[in-house]
Amino acid sequence: MLAAKTKDWFGMTKELLKINIGLQHPSTHGVLRLITELDGETVKSVEPVIGYLHRGMEKLAESRTYLQYLPMVDRVDYLSGFFCQEAFCSAVEKLSDIEVPERAKYIRCLLMELNRITSHLLWLGTYLMDLGASSPIFYAFREREMILRIFENLTGQRMMYNFHVFGGVKRDLSAEILDEIEKFLEIFPEKIKEYESILTDNPIFLSRTKGLGILTKNVALNYSITGANLRASGLNTDFRKQKPYLVYDKLDFEVSTETAGDCYARYLVRIAEMKQSQRIAAQCVDYLKNNSGEFKNSSVNPLAIKPQGEASSFVEAPRGLMICTVTADGSEKPYRVKWRTGSFYSVQILPELLKDRNFADIMAIFGSLDVILSEVDR
């Protein structure tokens, strides 16, 4: 398709070439369509077209009771189901003043941090595959599989867990599962070293990512970027520290930041985040092994939840801040549910980041933002 005409130095007519990428493209992790205009190899403009994975999650909530909607929320972001569950459950718990027992909070924290590791590992493997390296995905999936086995033993599902209930979780973690998790957490730091030895100083990886797709602090804030993408630009906004939920204020961890704001910085932040997640998870396992208690608030009748008012929950998900706002009118169904997810805003920044870059850099930059399209379209 031909677009705007310009004349070059010799007086020859030059035309921008319109190229369509997607919507089925292996690097988009979902269905994203990019309409690009190219001048030779240089990208002149990009227009992301979204909505191909729109399932009407917000509309569906209005015709279902709170309990009926609960199994669906995993699908908002299928790679980090526990975070979506936590966001919806804690919003409903705030609305109807449900107390969550201490042990349940630790269980939720532990599962969320393990989930963060699986999500970042999947990102690591597929991002490197986007860049043309085929072996890292086998290393990353090897460890991801270990966690998914644990989740499968615990919840019966590998990805759509449906494990939270209002006021706790469905099952207690048995001693065997805690042992399994502990075993994994012991070997995991070694495995991170393995990834780092392949990647961190790899000259090919460095030349593809360093200095590429620089996201400055002000642009990131203006576009409301959160999560690891924001922390790679030099800000330490981590809502686990800023506005602690569950038991994050009792756990010892650091917020990992980088200042460069390029693809490489985003890689470094995610690797550092996995180390911190391992640390948090180890503390949770330690607590769960040495303390007993209720794993759910048994006074809650999930069928009789009829709250009134409005409440939001803020969860630091792997892809940025996740907010679930539930507006209730006193009936058994939510009046309105709104999901605010990190990826929705990361997609929006693509035209800014890709302008005047090389065509081959499109996927290197887009991949580094860790966008999941199910979260964008909801």
Partner: protein, 148 residues
């Protein structure tokens, strides 16, 4: 917050279940208010985290959620639009992140935003007629009968 409550014509203050306060403003003051919150030394909002709409049948409510890392606090601004003519000012010139949010609200609720160029359907296909998240939007597809 005192300076802010004096400067603008706050119609109502609603305490929400999560402890935050929602300030209800008339629709013509929202843009100025967000601009003020971004640039005032008192609050200096960094991010417009999200804009959401709620359909209250006669009115459509728009809720703007801002975050300030200086105060480490959220602030919620809300405004009511007449459902018969839901139009308000766009805040893209203040926060660029509003572009997708406003497109989404235009798409799902039919709210117009003055000053938003290139407004288009974001999530629903171009040929779709109607605004699915409005309460009176009903789906005539017989496969969805159980959806009530």
């Amino acid at each position: 917050m005192e300076n802010f409550t004096e400067k603008f014509n706050i119609i109502d203050k609603i305490e929400q279940k999560d402890g935050s306060i929602k300030y209800v403003l008339p629709k013509n003051e929202v843009k100025n208010c967000i601009f003020h919150l971004k640039n005032s030394a008192e609050f200096s909002a960094d991010m417009l985290l999200s804009i959401r709409a709620v359909d209250w049948v006669e009115k459509i409510e728009l809720v703007y959620l801002l975050y300030s890392s200086k105060l480490n606090d959220f602030i919620t601004i809300s405004t009511m639009l007449e459902a018969s003519n839901p139009v308000t000012d766009s805040v893209i010139s203040v926060f660029k992140s509003a572009a997708f949010d406003e497109c989404e609200i235009f798409d799902l609720f039919g709210v117009g935003f003055d000053g938003h160029e290139g407004m288009k359907r974001l999530l629903m296909p171009e040929f779709y007629v109607g605004n699915p998240l409005l309460k009176n939007a009903c789906c005539k597809d017989e496969r969805l009968v159980w959806n009530d």
